[in-house]
Amino acid sequence: MFVNLDIYGFVCSECIARMLNLNQPVNATGTANEEVYKILIYDKFCQNILSPLIHVKDLRKHGVTLYFLIDKDRKPVHGVPAVYFVQPNQTNIQRVIADASRSLYDSFHLNFSSSIPRPLLEELASGTLNSDSINRISKVHDQYLEFVTLEDSLFSLVQKSSYVQLNDPSAGDREIEEIVERIVTGLFCVLATLAVVPIIRCPRGGPAEMVASALDQRLRDHLLSKNNLFTEGGSFVSSFQRPILCIFDRNFELSVGIQHDFRYRALVHDVLGLRLNRLSVQGEKGGMRSYELDGSDPFWVVNGSLEFPEVAVEIESQLNKYKKDVDEVNKRTGGTDGAEFDGTDLMGNTKHLMNAVNSLPELTERKQVIDKHTNIATVLLGEIKERSLDSYAKKENDMLVRGNIDRNELLGVLRGKGTKMDKLRFAVMYLISSENINQSEVESVEAALREFEVDTSAFQYVKKLKSLNASVATANLASRNNIVDWAEKIYAVTAGVKNLLSSDRQLALTRTVELLMDGKPNPEIDSYLVFDPRAPKSSSGTSHMRGPFKEAIVFMIGGGNYVEYGSLQEFAQRQQPVKHVIYGATEILTGVEFVEQLTLLGHKMGFGSNAAASTR
């Protein structure tokens, strides 16, 4: 059943392995067929794509001896092929032509992360013809890999500030179209790599609809061409095999991007700054340590979605288990004195010794993982205590569930511990979560913020957002089993159903995805548009396409984060049978970064910064 979305990260690594093997099929052992040593050259964007997936160790396994940035000044290396993995743009093409004319390498295998447009291809041809080095270019490929895979079911398009650009009041049509084009290219690459043509659903209006229709058009055009990349999916036309692609806009649920969350993964990302699965923290003995947190770290995979106190308990228990194992090994080998050589047991001793030596690497690795997480947890604990993040998270959660908060409590939090950004985020959360806006309360909040020299532009922006009365459709959500009409507010917000199975509040996104995957008609999602690139254009309302979907790709325009990712994974695991959900966004933002974007928007709208100091 799960033909397509099972092995997401593996597919990416496999694509890269194949690319490094000069685009010949990789044989079963996973190493190159012949002993061909090659050089890998990439640009900055493709470096971001490659770093989470491939380490230098793996590069060596594939026969890559050297790896360079394309901008770096490189010297010739004769007799070896060079594999280029770059984005198809003007500067890169010029560099390639320059390299070819200098005959830096024996042969050039060019791989572009997305489809190279025809004019650039012609430019490349003419440039290399002029320098008489066209025979060095052996292959040109489009790899359709222009996205960053962070985890098995998480990807990001790394398109900075897309939220600001899309919501900018001064943005022109052309700029918006450009952004939409870029997002569509990224999404197309994702779908091409997975080789699926999904059914696209999105809420009406806003960037989501634009992206969905543009993507639909792109897919249709592509399917009509001769050698399209989706021929494999041709036989599976029934809805049970095709996944659903849900596209959302950040304004659909603004609170998730801002709130403080207390789960491990979200904390590490928000507080310590996890970038491309890499983390730098202050080590215990001073000096910065750099760690990697991805699918190969067993502790991270298992415990990423736990709340922080439970994580500390887990680390403790893992440490105890490790100590016990080490003691056992010591007892078996070091405990027996060397003098006791009874004949029958000598073999046993040496066998024990050999087992001990063999198990040493595994034990060392376990210790390293435990040390790493202990270090991270210690640093996190320091930050949490200093900023009292636990109380922020709890109070924000309460606010979202209850819909209001005691005024004194609110002001107390604002005057209490925490950085300026924390306070700003709390204030914005208050604004989003309160059902009725009490003007005096809002003013006191603003006064408190100004007292602490917090830049209130983001606050003003969200206030304006709430008060605008646009005609965009809202998404109604059930709150405590009542359907509350949010007609006064533009965008749907918060206060999700209190899930009886888990104690967490369910996000609006998760609930909507659940409904979409079920496929049953429901007033909340009936207004959502449907695009099916495979169906002929005339037929609409294909009812048989709405059956329950087992796999979904959820895409958030404007910035996603680990909270949503965790929530979606939890939802997928809870189902019977287990469903697969892949989550992606234009970029993965921390709360701080998102609020900075809101501040930028506030500035653009003319709210200005009332405080002289910056928000940091």
């Binding site: 040593y37 230098v56 050297l66 010297k75 041809a125 052996s138 040109v140």
Partner: protein, 335 residues
């Protein structure tokens, strides 16, 4: 994990080449590629290319050799695993072992040669830095592969030794006169046991590798010390048959042990050469961030210095004005 058969990339080479053809036709009347300059460029490149291609040839030969050796090793492993008590292809295994040992020693010396050649060429300074690092990396990679092949060989040999021991025990269990006969061959084995004792003392560095053969030798040694004499005459007629069999087994064991000993020396040699490499799990973008941080730090320091300099300037100007002021006052009072 099934491998996707559909490709998720697109080959644009044909398109590229057709464009090239078109452009060539339109260019054919116009530009003539620079004849003399390109030839002179290619001349100095040709020598560099020749040196590099010789290196490549040798490297690929070594790589091919390693690949073949590992195939032979796989065959040996299969043989060692499937042995049974009575149908022991000892001869084949021994031949194959000797062959593989020779191969590994030859490859080892070839890799060392290649590295010397590479170092001398890098030292002579007429190659580019990138070429040097490329060659060094290639040599390291070959060393790693050879090391892993040697390790596998050692594992196969240990497996073989264990199997031999298991057969020993099983033979003792199955044959009815085992308890009496087993003592007898140990009499004959006394000279062999003495030899094995000498060899165990020669091999200190790998206790775990040598532990198993030495323990197997020590076992018969102890049992041999007692009760050998009275039974000797009684079992004389049965001795010749089992004697040759036991002798061959002992010889096999001894060969295995000496091979392991030689392997350990190769191991040590390789280990010293490869010590730098290790299994460092570094990421592609790691150095970048370090240099970026360093550059930013340097920039910050420079800015601070600039500020201090410029502030000094302001200070000097102020002092200058004060001096002028005093001068005026002085002039005023004097004049």
């Amino acid at each position: 994990m099934h491998v996707k058969s559909a490709k998720s990339f697109r080959d644009r080479t044909q398109e590229f080449q057709s464009i090239a053809e078109q452009l060539k036709k339109s260019f054919s009347s116009g530009s003539v590629p620079d004849g003399p300059s390109s030839s002179s460029k290619s001349e100095e490149q040709r020598s560099a290319v020749a040196i590099q291609s010789e290196f490549n040839r040798r490297a690929s030969k070594i790589g091919y050799g390693i690949h073949q050796t590992s195939q032979k090793l796989a065959k040996l492993a299969k043989l060692a695993k499937r042995t049974s008590v009575f149908d022991d292809p000892t001869k084949e295994i021994q031949e194959l072992t000797v062959l593989i040992k020779q191969d590994i020693t030859a490859l080892n010396s070839a890799v060392v040669d290649l590295q010397l050649h590479c170092n001398s060429r890098n030292g002579s300074g007429n190659t580019y830095s990138d070429t040097n690092s490329h060659s060094a990396t290639v040599v390291d990679d070959l060393k790693n592969q050879l090391m892993s092949t040697t390790k596998e060989f050692k594992d196969v040999l240990t497996l073989r030794t264990e199997n031999l021991k298991v057969h020993e025990n099983r033979r003792q269990l199955f044959s009815s006169t085992a308890s009496k006969d087993s003592i007898n061959p140990f009499v004959r084995q006394r000279p062999l046991a003495a030899r094995s004792a000498a060899s165990t003392s020669n091999a200190p560095p790998l206790p775990w590798a040598n532990g198993t053969p030495s323990s197997s030798q020590s076992l018969p040694r102890k049992q041999m010390d007692g009760e050998s004499q009275p039974l000797l005459q009684q079992q004389q007629q049965l001795v010749p048959l089992q004697d040759t069999y036991m002798q061959s087994r002992a010889e096999a064991l001894q060969n295995v042990e000496s091979t392991i000993h030689e392997l350990s020396s190769i191991f040590n040699q390789l280990a010293t050469l490869v010590s730098q490499q290790g299994e460092i799990a570094i990421r592609i973008d790691e150095n970048m961030d370090d240099t970026l941080a360093n550059v930013e730090g340097a920039q910050g320091a420079l800015l601070k210095y600039l500020n201090s300099i410029s502030s000094n300037r302001w200070l000097m100007i102020k002092i200058f004005f004060v001096l002028i002021f005093f001068l005026m006052v002085f002039l005023f009072f004097v004049a």
